[in-house]
């Protein structure tokens, strides 16, 4: 008689989880600019950690541990997008450069450089020290 079913499920979940964690690290290392790195790293590492905590829940099979594991998963799914969005907003506001192959920047000129308030269409005066220099076309937001 081979191993039981929950052993197989735990093994598969651990494998998927570690694969996604490795993918996040490779994306963080290889992609060309901050915003792409952020996007690759946060989404796949959230999925990876969820698989690993589910593996813990399946392995122990007790109510308290399953509850705690699901709690941590819910916490990650709630906080990872919030934290990443805050870092991305701060990075865009301080002028971290985009990749030179970027074809579109919807936010260009939409942030007030003094108050950091977001407008729904481009402001009249030059706003961003980094983007205002190259913003000759008066493009729409």
């Amino acid at each position: 008689m081979g191993p039981e079913l929950n052993v197989w499920i735990t093994s598969v979940l651990l494998g998927i989880g570690s694969l996604f964690m490795l993918l996040a690290a490779v994306g963080l290392l290889r992609l060309p600019d901050l915003f792409m790195r952020m996007q690759a790293a946060t989404k796949s590492s959230t999925l990876g950690i969820a698989c690993m905590l589910l593996a813990v829940a399946v392995h122990f099979g007790q109510l308290g541990i399953t509850t705690l594991a699901l709690l941590i998963i819910a916490f990650f799914f709630l906080t990872a997008p919030v934290a990443t969005h805050m870092v991305a907003r701060a990075a865009y506001l301080v002028g971290v450069p985009l990749w030179q192959g970027t074809v579109m920047d919807d936010l260009r000129g939409c942030y007030d450089v003094e108050t950091h308030a977001l407008a729904s269409r481009p402001l009249e005066s030059p706003q961003h020290p980094e983007t205002a220099a190259s913003d000759e076309s008066g493009a729409s937001c």
Binding site: S18, A25, L28, M38, A55, A90, V94
Partner: protein, 97 residues
Amino acid sequence: MMLAEPLATMVTVTLIVLSVAMLLTFVRLVLGPSLPDRVIALDIMATQAVGIIAVYDIATHEPIFLRVATVVALITFLGTVAFAHYVERRGSQWGPN
């Protein structure tokens, strides 16, 4: 307690893969080039630490470490939000470097 066979191998493989992932993330933490890059790298490293704690739970059959994972996840979120706040407040002098 001994683990059943496919699981024992998988725990070892997972620990190795997570260590490699942490090493790659550490390279990004050292290289930068901007401060938000390093913040994100630290965030991902903490997520990988939670993963290692989860695998260690299974390896030692000791679920008490899951509480540690909870605390690590909480503290990391607070740290990242605080970093984002200060990056935004310091302005563009912190931008590319």
